[in-house]
């Protein structure tokens, strides 16, 4: 404590640099008092003072020791060096600015990408002791990973597993409408076993989780976010009642805002006991079935146990279950990962995408780094005279190295600071993107402590690496030459080799970077040319889920009918239709279909996406009818009919007329009444999917939509203008009905473009920066190289070399470097392109355009970069060149 106090005082003294005149007075008083004593003994005042001074010893040393104790001498010396470095950086303003900007762009790109990696790959779930919480999955032999749990398998596992202190299950997503207060809102929650919060060791903001007796009690844990948004952070919320989709629930706790869900991606805002879930989510599988996989499972490992033991026990349990229930459980085994990791099905794709991005930004930083290194290197050569003077005046080489390193370290940190600022902006922009998904996702990315630490390390590393070459050069000038104002090593070749290597590395990196960028940009280009199969102009979407308000299917059907009538009556509206989910929402229901009576193995079958639509749907969306008819009004009670798209017809009927044919699938039989054009169903990038449209009124009773229903309205004027009128139309029918996804079709489709757009945008930005940096670097290096050879060129020309020969000489050198770099970079780009092929829309990874354009462009840039200084060299007057330097 006292030591700390002393350190603090000394630190403040150092920073203030207050001189201590106080101490001079104190010493003077000491000597004077000592002298007085001498005078009392009879000495003359002069002699007394002289003896007092002798007795005191070294006054100067005392001053030094005192000053040393007052401040922190080592810090002072560092500060002096920093001050000197800053002065030197300010003196070379232009170089400093370019260096900081380059490093800033490079580091900023890396920080941005790392913040994404940190968020999705490195961050543990926001639960207590995340290291011992596992997510469990079932994997069936030969299938892709992974499946969820049937209830009986979960309860067997919970009973038998001894390596776990407890195991909990939850149902991923329950939609509910919250009413009360302002407009009703649709929110999403999860149904959990009562021990869920205990297993997760989630520390509640208020209240508590569920007790074991509350398996079927109407209690709810709210997320802090929902509590703030809907209930004004009411401190007395515990014990109060909230209405979820018309059912009263008593609030038992408030979970922290940072907790969205175990998987960290789904954005859940309330949790209810699993036993209460059927109240809010219709059509849940029966609990006693071992066939329906519907529960996610987490398990808390007893601390100190190893993964191997856990895996062994889970293996044993799986074997036991397979023996007891061969019909359902054979071939199943359990897999697990730390809770909060990326979901297994998405892991490889996400990791691949992030690795591609990481490679790109590291290349970018590499290019920027070589630029700055070149700049500093050139500067170091110019500063040889300064260094030589310092050496001659007695500075040690170590100190010179320290100075130069400190300078580049400051550059690195300056660049890092700029980089953090840049990435604060970029992560903000990334977080505001909406992804096309039917469920609420939390994809917030921000700069966390881990990212800051990474950025700091990267900046320091950058600074040190950049300073290495200049420090070496600066500390070893040949004093004699340097003082005579000649460059100490104009003739030595070794350093040019180093520079050549740097140019080659830089251009090679640029090739890889630009090739990747080019591919992704071409991919975006082709994505924007995708024919989505329906019109986007003039359409407005609005979704409701009357089921959440307790509507029966027939009542929903009536409600949607009334809503269509009211919408159609709005001024300017010429069509109002309904569907379950709109196109391009990311996922959809699908079933396998066969021609009725031909369900044998060899008969054609087709896996088709299912949509419920109302009459007039195809006309409203501008989809061409190819054969047959649209649905007719008032067919709810007739035999089930369907309209198929062209892909469906081609796949199942291969050329024969499908109209009037009967098909079966998903336990139902349909008669085909029409064929319409293809449309993109789930994502823009998909291959054309077969689609079966069925009548909404016919299907709603025995197969209701879990995702709600969407009203689609067409108007020749601006659709956004009728949004409020449409919302009012809903509230007029039922003021408690939650309205969501109110948007124009243009907005909706733009959301679907978000992934290719973001990817292309990221690659485009990084590629653009890389190209600029590489170009600047090439010019710099070439110009500098020629400038160094001015004298040599002068001699050559004095000896009779013609300008054309000089031009050739310089150009040949530049192009040799460039082609070496291309030869190295292209194969690397080729390999990386192959790896990232799964993100490319409609473009082959070895796209000819990209792989011709990029090297050609770089060669052109390099040629230019060599040409300009070469021209200058060739036009040199030999006498002048010889007098230079």
């Amino acid at each position: 404590m006292n030591k700390l106090r002393a350190f603090w005082i000394r630190l403040i003294n150092t920073l203030r640099r207050a001189p201590s005149e106080d101490f001079a007075d104190e010493l003077e008083a000491h000597v004077a008092m000592d002298a007085e004593r001498g005078i009392r003994y009879g000495l003359s005042p002069e002699e007394a003072r002289r003896q007092a001074l002798i007795r005191f010893g070294g006054i100067a040393q005392a001053h030094d020791a005192y000053a040393g104790r007052q401040g922190l001498p080592w810090l002072e010396s560092v500060l002096r060096d920093v001050q000197y470095s800053v002065q030197s950086l300010v003196r070379n303003r232009l170089v400093t600015a370019v260096a900081i900007l380059s490093i800033g762009l490079g580091v900023g790109s890396n920080t941005t990408i790392f913040s994404i990696v940190s968020r999705f790959v490195l961050r543990p779930a926001p639960v207590g002791d995340p290291g011992t919480l596992l997510s469990l999955h079932i994997m069936h032999d030969g299938d892709r990973c992974c499946n969820q749990f049937p209830w009986p398998v979960f309860s067997d596992l919970r009973e038998q597993a001894t390596e776990f202190s407890d195991v909990a299950a939850y149902f991923d997503l329950i939609p509910a409408s919250v009413s009360g207060g302002s407009e009703p809102e649709r929110v999403w929650g999860q149904g959990v076993t009562p021990n869920f919060f205990g297993v997760a060791q989630l520390r509640m903001v208020m209240g508590a989780g569920f007790s074991d007796s509350e398996e079927r009690a109407p209690v709810v844990v709210l997320s802090e976010r929902l509590w703030k948004r809907r209930f004004n952070s009411d401190k007395g919320m515990i014990g109060k009642t909230v209405i979820l989709s018309g059912h009263p629930f008593t609030v038992s706790g408030v979970a922290p805002a940072a907790f969205h869900s175990i998987d960290q991606i789904i954005n859940a805002e309330f949790w209810i006991p699993l036993g209460m879930t059927p109240e809010l989510a219709a059509g849940l599988p029966p609990r006693d079935s071992r066939e329906f996989h519907w529960l996610s499972v987490i398990g808390r490992v007893r601390s100190g146990l190893r993964r191997k033991d856990v895996a062994a026990e889970l293996g044993t349990i799986a074997d036991r279950l397979a023996a007891s229930y061969p019909a359902t459980d054979r071939g199943n085994h359990f897999v697990f990962e730390q809770a909060g990791s990326l979901p297994p099905f998405a892991r490889s794709a996400v990791l691949l995408f992030l690795s591609a991005l990481s490679i790109v930004v590291l290349l970018l930083l590499g290019i920027a780094g070589f630029n700055v290194a070149n700049l500093l290197f050139a500067q170091a050569i110019h500063r040889q005279r300064e260094m030589a003077v310092r050496l001659a005046l007695g500075a040690t080489r170590g100190r010179l190295v320290r100075l130069v390193l400190l300078e580049s370290l400051l550059l690195g940190l300056g660049g890092g600071t700029l980089g953090v600022l840049l990435s604060l902006w970029s992560t903000g922009a990334l977080s505001s993107l909406r992804l096309p998904a039917p469920v609420p996702l939390n994809l917030q990315v921000s700069i966390d402590g881990r990212t800051l630490a990474y950025t700091f390390l990267l900046s320091v590393l950058c600074g040190l690496l950049l300073g290495m070459a200049p420090a070496w050069t600066a500390s070893r000038p040949r004093i004699a030459y340097s003082l005579k104002q000649e460059t100490g090593f104009a003739a030595t070749g070794g350093r040019f080799v180093a520079r050549n290597l740097m140019v080659i590395a830089q251009v090679a990196m640029a090739v890889v970077l630009l090739a990747l960028t080019g591919l992704f940009l071409r991919s975006l280009e082709s994505a924007s040319e995708i024919n989505i199969g329906f019109r986007t102009r003039g359409l407005l979407l609005l979704s409701v889920d009357p089921r959440l308000n307790g509507y029966s299917p027939s009542k929903i059907s009536a409600f949607l009918g009334q809503l269509r009538e009211r919408a159609a009556a709005l001024p300017g509206v010429d069509a109002a239709v309904c569907s379950d989910v709109p196109f391009l929402t990311g996922g959809n229901r699908s079933d396998g279909f066969t021609i009725l009576g031909k369900a044998a193995k060899d008969d054609p079958s087709v896996l088709a996406d299912l949509y419920m639509v109302t009459p007039g749907y195809f006309a409203a969306l501008g989809m061409p009818g190819l054969a047959g008819n649209d649905f007719r009004q008032g067919t709810a009670s007739g035999p089930p009919v369907a309209v198929i798209n062209k892909a469906f017809a081609d796949r199942l009927f291969s050329g024969t007329d499908p109209i009037g044919r009967r098909i079966e699938g998903g336990g139902r039989t349909y008669q085909i009444i029409g064929v319409v054009g293809n449309a993109k169903s789930r994502t823009l990038g998909e291959d054309t999917r077969p689609i079966l449209y069925r009548s909404l009124d016919q299907s709603i009773a025995d197969d209701p939509s879990m995702m709600g229903y969407t009203l689609i309205v067409h108007t020749p004027s601006n659709p956004a203008g009728i949004a409020q009128a449409l919302r009012r139309a809903v509230y007029q029918l039922d003021p408690t009905m939650a309205v969501y996804n109110l948007e124009t079709m243009d907005e909706h489709v733009r959301t679907a473009y978000v992934l290719p757009r973001v990817a292309a945008m990221l690659f485009g930005i990084f590629g653009g920066i890389g190209l600029v940096l590489a170009t600047v670097g090439l010019y710099g290096v070439m110009t500098f190289a020629v400038a160094r050879r001015t004298r040599e060129i002068g001699i050559r020309m004095a000896m009779g070399a013609r300008p054309a020969a000089v031009l050739r000489l310089v150009l040949r050198r530049g192009m040799a470097l460039t082609f070496t770099a291309l030869a190295l970079g292209l194969p690397a780009a080729w390999v990386i392109a192959k790896l990232s092929s799964s993100f490319l829309y409609g473009i082959k990874p070895h796209d000819a355009v990209t792989f011709t354009l990029v090297p050609a462009m770089l060669a052109l840039v390099a040629l230019n970069a060599a040409w300009i200084p070469a021209r200058r060299a060739a036009s040199i007057n030999p006498t002048q060149a010889l007098r230079m330097e």
Binding site: N2, K3, R5, A6, I9, R10, D22, F23, D25, E26, L27, A29, H30, A32, M33, D34, E36, R55, F56, G57, G58, I59, Q61, A62, A65, Y66, G68, R69, Q70
Partner: protein, 113 residues
Amino acid sequence: MSDKPDVWQGTLALMVLRTLETMGPQHGYGLARRIEQISGDLLALNYGTLYPALLKLEQEGYIRSQWGSSENNRRAKFYELTKAGQRRLRKAAGEWKQTTEILARFLDDPSEA
């Protein structure tokens, strides 16, 4: 140079604290003289190290200083023990006593060593 032993490392602070405790507020010169007198003029106090040591104690909060007038009406800086200094002194003194007692036992009675 004299053959008087130098002040051992770390003991100067203790002596300063103890002297301030017995004498009350005192200036640097007075402290130096007093320490020399108490040691029976056996110690050679390096005045050059006294003042940094005083500064250190002040920075650590064991003493505080203030300008005042000496007995001869000379302006001088007076040092005074703080509460923390008293605690520190008691603790350090206890430790030193124990150390010296143990050492004394070894040195006084060679048969037990």
